[in-house]
Symmetry: C2
Subunit: 379 residues, 2 copies
């Protein structure tokens, strides 16, 4: 994606600034999402995967089992049972559909769903510590609630457990699935390394941002969509094509996340207003706005360069209006529109990838519905 | 190991206190170690494994490749080539002998040697951060030289790389080897969890200490001794028996380490005098001395309980004589002698395990020589 390509998509005027309303995402290209159907799929993923995930976590030696149970939202910090928000569970839903795409029963995908969830949560535990994030899903993060050492240790344990859950199946397919999971995990780690290094840089290109998001979000989502199929005996070509769907779905997911990180409604996202701006995240809308050129883009660049000289404490004292004016500049420079279009492009590429594989019509429809849901979600 | 068993081995008198000399370990039961032969074995392990290890580490994205190269002692913190001490390389030597024990060429064990080294170093990177250790092999640790985030991230990357190096072989044997490595890694993490939890406890039993050391040191050494054989096509029974040798060798290794951690000669160990006492480590000589009962044991318990009330800064101001008097009490209570005997017992058990497997006489002799070396080493 070069600057010209971005510019071409940026509307000439800046009149949309006054019409910012929170919660708007990219609904226009997706006429009607089967929300009830998607909710049922997510619920099925949770219902089948959670007991196996809990049994795996229970294998950890004390106190790691407790710390992990807290992280997953199953207990509170006092050890009392809790029913915390444990995320949208898109990955388990995908892993089960993945098995069905290969003609296997959804249950065949369960160890894959559990392994992917374990790797995802290993990365959350470590990333929260590296990034100094104190809150996740409305609760203290593990390093904050327990200690940095426990966050490192339990993260390591979940990573090892992910491999164990797959390899103890003892099949050739499990070995292939573990190899794909390992590749995805390496990319996940590469993405976190890029994310950290970008924090210290003044300028990040759109290409660099997309590469980082592909590593951090695309790779593991891709693995979720191939792992059930591999466990069900799919060949590498089928698995690779499913991964292409998952990778682009991941990029669409992340583009929407980046939109919600600035313009999301705090009541539905559970995050602060202007969350990503408060954290100085060089997310897609920001890098696209900076790459677009023109008066708004240049004004934004000057303001963000000045902001970079402020401490985190000073930034935390900004008023709502100060963040809103930055968000307005990002939008005026075309960063919001470009990111919405990017989500649609990635969604379309994901759907197109699906057409290259034979699979039951029902499974194809469900994978399509999940992709639609990812793009229109509000939280 | 109950208290009575320990007491039975503790000499009645306390006259050995005045004869403390550094560098004494358990030489009596091992008449003559083929030091030149062992050095050649260690050198072969390094020569065959290091190029593959370096190629694997070079796959890491920047700056993780650089940070890892620093950790392994290949470059200094300015990025200049270095020839730092990268450890004794016992694990790679064992992995190659392991392949030969199964009748395969030593080269067959190389991916196993590399994978085990990667896991070992992943654990060092994370443990140094968790433990707040600022020095390793005479240089700043990674979290100190770079940042805590890099120590976490590069540790994660080495762990993932370990699985990748094995699984990309694409064989059934590689899947079995990865499963054994995963089991060992889980134990390694369990051991670190125990080590951390013991720090906050006033009393640790000898059994708990041995369990922790079996997890932290025995499990990965066991894996090093089975992984080459598994890659060479050995069956599970042979691999399990080789692991029994490796596990007990690991416990012997750790018992010697615990002796050197108190009575080792700083010039040969590269550590401070009374290193483990300075770090308040509840190592085998300490827990055995506390478990022994009797006047010296009780005096030691009172002194250590008082020490526990001091800050680390206060402890750092202790004179050589203050540490020496604590070491003398540990010896008087029988902790030193018990730990020396424990090293010999574990050594004997390791050698005995070998006798249950058919293998070329030359390989058996080399595994025996390595075991002897582990117990008589001075650093």
């Amino acid at each position: 994606m070069n600057q010209r390509a971005i510019k071409a998509r940026v509307p000439a005027g800046g009149t949309r600034v006054s019409t910012i309303t929170r919660g708007e995402t990219v609904t226009s290209a997706i006429p009607a999402v089967d929300t009830a159907g998607v909710r049922a799929l997510l619920e099925r993923g949770r219902t089948l995967a959670t007991p196996v995930l809990r049994a795996a976590v229970n294998r950890l030696a004390a106190p790691m089992d407790t710390v992990a149970a807290y992280h997953f939202g199953w207990i509170d910090v006092e050890g009392r049972p809790a029913h915390g928000d444990s995320g949208k569970a898109i990955r388990p839903a995908l892993a089960l559909l993945s098995a069905e795409a290969a003609g296997a029963a959804p249950e065949v995908g369960v160890p894959g769903a559990v392994a992917v969830e374990l790797v995802h949560n290993f990365s959350l535990l470590h990333d929260d510590l590296m990034d100094g994030d104190e809150q996740r899903r409305h609760r203290d993060t593990v390093w904050k609630a327990y200690s940095p050492a426990q966050a490192i240790l339990v993260g390591d344990a979940l990573f090892a457990l992910a491999n164990e859950v797959l390899l103890e199946l003892g099949t050739v397919e499990a070995g292939r699935a573990t190899r794909r999971l390992t590749t995805a995990t390496r990319k996940l780690i590469d993405g976190q390394a890029q994310d950290i290094s970008y924090e210290h840089r003044e300028r990040v290109t759109v290409e660099e941002c997309l590469e980082m998001e592909g590593n951090k979000t695309g790779a593991l989502l891709a693995c979720a969509v191939s792992i059930g199929a591999v466990l069900g005996g799919a060949d590498d070509r089928t698995a690779d094509t499913l991964e292409a769907y998952g990778y682009h779905l991941g990029l669409a997911f992340q583009a929407v996340d980046d939109l919600l990180g600035i313009w999301g409604d705090p009541e539905t996202t559970g995050k602060q207003t202007w969350s990503d701006l408060r954290q100085r995240k060089k997310s897609l809308p920001v890098v696209a706005a900076l790459a677009a050129g023109g008066p708004a883009s240049e004004r934004l660049a000057r303001i963000l360069a000045d902001d970079a000289k402020l401490s985190d404490a000073q930034l935390a004292h900004f008023t709502e209006e100060e963040f809103a004016s930055r968000a307005a500049l990002i939008e005026e420079a075309g960063g919001r529109e470009w990111t919405s279009e990017e989500a649609r492009r990635q969604h379309a590429t994901a759907i197109q990838a699906l057409s290259a594989i034979d699979m039951p019509a029902e499974v194809r429809a469900q994978l399509t519905a999940l992709a639609d849901f990812v793009v229109v979600r509000k939280s």
